[in-house]
Symmetry: C2
Subunit: 170 residues, 2 copies
């Protein structure tokens, strides 16, 4: 896939020779597609690493948030991860069924549900400690590049979201 693949009838390689062109249907998606591919590759690695913990990557993200700060509302988890209740509600039910969290309606505001780690959920943190080093090793980037990349990603997401929210421009 990184080389130009031949179909059975023609060779139209060499399309990538137009570096200044950011508006073509060829080049446009090379960054977006690269990002999309990299994101899927990382999720795939997490799938392998998280299999012993019986967690998916989004579930692991929720656990990370809770390990940092227990007993949050669904709304707060959503704000932390940019996920809405349509994604979180079923995910949290699965975590509850796995015995890692509890879900209880708040007495003071019956609309909201507070998510708390169970003892098992809190204990799982120890096993999770083994994961970050693998991720670091897998990415194989030196810390400076890594830090810069994180900043760039944050800015990129912010910029893209701003653009989208003010769309259409008219």
């Amino acid at each position: 896939m990184m080389e130009c693949y031949r179909s059975d009838r023609e060779e139209e390689c060499m399309t990538s020779q137009d570096p200044g062109e950011t508006g073509s249907l060829l080049l446009d998606d090379q960054l977006c597609f690269g990002l999309y591919s990299a994101s899927r590759a990382i999720t795939s690695l997490y799938r392998t690493l998280l299999e012993p913990l019986d967690l998916t990557y989004p579930q692991y993200l929720v656990m990370l948030v809770l390990w940092e700060h227990d007993a949050q509302q669904v709304k707060e988890l959503g704000a932390a991860l940019n996920l809405d209740s349509g994604t979180l509600s079923p995910l949290l039910k699965r975590l509850e069924k796995s015995g890692l969290v509890t879900r209880e309606r708040q007495a003071e505001d019956e609309r909201s549900v507070r998510i708390r780690l169970t003892d098992d959920g809190a204990a799982l943190r120890a096993k999770a400690e083994e994961i970050p080093p693998h991720i670091g090793a897998a990415m194989g980037l030196d810390p400076a590049v890594l830090t810069g990349l994180r900043t760039t990603m944050d800015r990129l997401a912010a910029s893209v979201n701003t653009y989208r929210e003010s769309f259409p421009p008219a």
Copy 2:
């Protein structure tokens, strides 16, 4: 949430002052999560931009591949996009139902199915030309950074995939 919250047993705030530290549960995911967020933000923008074309982002990617090179096998599309038939088969059926592609079994090898653009599918390219400029504007990165980022993403995906394929290391 953007301030440092304490866990229930240690205070590991200020970890971002430890650039060599790639192994904590706090820091690890800041890059992976940033990537995941950026990828979703971009997909979300594509959703907005692609709505008039009645395409999803993965469908658009398939169309991009076909616009570059028509009449490919499912297997070839899969190689180009790193997607398997479990994802592509239903997606291609939806594109067929939309009238953008045709799917026909090859006579010379009854196992394979060749995907071809219809006239409508080929014509849609003109409308798609309007999309890349929006993406470029939304990302707001200068071309040099953009090119570097693309290279980094490719290397990252490759590195992560290599690591995952040779896992467990034993």
